[in-house]
Amino acid sequence: MANIENGICDIGCLDRMADHNSIIHKLDARSKVLTTILFIIMVVSTNKYEIAGLVPFTLMPIILIALADFPFSFFLHKLILVSPFVLFVAIFNPFFDQAPLCKLGHFTISGGWVSFLSIILRFCLTVTAALVLIASTGFPQVCRALEQLGVPKVFTIQLLFLYRYIFVLLEEGTRMIRSHNLRSFGRKIHLRVYKHLAGNLLLRTLDRANRIHMAMLCRGFDGEIRSLNTDKFNRSDYIFTITTCSLVVIFRLVNLPQFAGTLFIRLF
């Protein structure tokens, strides 16, 4: 139960961070969304045994976090929190892919271990990039930017409502679980009870959805959510988008650590 309550707190925390006022925060949401998407595509599309080539990419989130004046510990904490999922995905690689790939002194390193590390690194990069995007922009603004970039309204409106009501839903769920715990004397939730709790929550959600729809109709809702559009794509946004995008593409096309290595060997 405490975990659910902490979860609510965490989402609120991202929201508070979006209220800061740094250079990164001032950028137009669209420029950040575009660069983040490109960054994620470039990172994910690298070769499965790539590790050295991914290292330059770490610069991006680190610089953004520093410029936005965010605490690094927050993002580390979040990464550790979600890491079990990716560990579970990657852990089988060392067992299935045992072909030796390289030698480090007396140790032979199999391809599985290299791809395992590569997956972990890619996971860290993409998750941090997405978190930095939301923490420096705010979820509603990200949704609006997506809409302006051509994502169908059906999806962006769904996302907005999901975000608005996740707090209400979590609170309702927490109350139900709390009332269960108070009368269960330490026993875990039985599957049968779970079924009822989940069903109940679903019915309540449907009821609420009905009431929200009613409230929207009362104020003239006709299928479209309009907003006062005041966003401007300034020169700084162009500069940010073009420089970061070209950097990311260079990182992807040129293996900078390898390049530096060969240069070093040739010189000496």
Binding site: R211, I212, M214, C218, R219, G220, I225, R226, S227, L228
Partner: protein, 266 residues
């Protein structure tokens, strides 16, 4: 000013599951009146409110808002005239910022952006929450949420305000502030509530609904002094019209003294 009249005639409504929620309800509310709808749980108050802005359509009978009979063609105009404040403010504040929520109605009316902005600011000022305009609704207290919800309706400039349990769940001070706020509004007000003390403060007229019928309709002071009627409607007198709980038990001198000391301590 006929366009501020609310007239309900022989209204009947049966839910699809067969529950007869309203059975022949009739009343007429004039411009500027402030009317309380009171009654037991399940008496049909909320169902009745949902008819006033056309969310539900009557099985029988008619609803007229001003010059317009309520039907599919007039729905848009009626909803512009009747502002509905829901019991749970979370249902009403569905956007991610208070400002966007208050702007939702005016934007749907197709107003130009300067007009939308000035209406939003005016509505927020009227309920004293202008400083909260950039906050997400989930970070507001109950009283603030209620005010924001009222602002989201006021921005559409309705002439009739319909409210479902406006004081439910508010702390005593927020409740008092809300009552003072509503007191200052010149709109025609229709308030469904269990808070009978608020009714004595705000409404000159009270309609008692019981089992889907109008049990009593008259001035608030008359209705609240008719004990028989109140009992039949599962109600009781507002607390402040009841006698002092300490004095009323017995008239012995000791108790009178006790009451006086209690008063002094307060």
């Amino acid at each position: 000013m006929s366009h501020h009249i609310v007239e309900v005639k022989n209204l009947r409504f049966t839910y699809p599951d067969g529950t007869a929620a309203l059975q022949s309800i009739s009343f007429r509310i004039n411009h500027g009146e402030s009317v309380a709808l009171v009654g037991a749980n399940g008496a049909g108050k909320s169902t009745l409110l949902l008819h006033l802005n056309g969310y539900l359509s009557p099985s029988e009978g008619t609803v007229r808002i001003g010059d317009l009979p309520l039907n599919k063609d007039t729905l848009k105009d009626v909803r512009k005239t009747v502002g509905m404040v829901f019991q749970d403010s979370d249902d009403q504040l569905f956007m991610s910022k208070v400002y966007d929520d208050v702007a939702f109605g005016p934007l749907n009316l197709g107003l130009p952006s300067e007009e939308v902005n000035s209406r939003v600011i005016a509505a927020l000022k009227k309920v004293d929450v202008e400083h909260l305009k950039n906050r997400p609704p989930y970070k507001l207290s109950g009283g603030q949420k209620k005010r924001a919800a009222i602002a989201s309706v006021l921005s559409m400039n309705p002439s009739i305000l319909v409210m479902d349990e406006p004081t439910a769940g508010l702390d005593p001070r927020s409740r008092r502030q809300l009552i003072n706020l509503l007191h200052g509004f010149e709109h025609t007000k229709i308030i469904a509530t269990h808070d009978l003390d608020m009714v004595t403060d705000l409404c000159d007229r009270t309609i008692i609904i019981h089992d889907g019928k109008v049990l009593g309709d008259g001035s608030t002071s008359d209705i609240f002094s008719d004990m028989e009627l109140l009992n039949a409607g599962h109600l009781e007198r507002p607390l402040r019209m009841q006698s002092c709980p300490i004095c009323s038990k017995t008239t012995s001198k000791i108790n009178v003294n006790k009451c006086q000391t209690a008063e002094l301590q307060n």
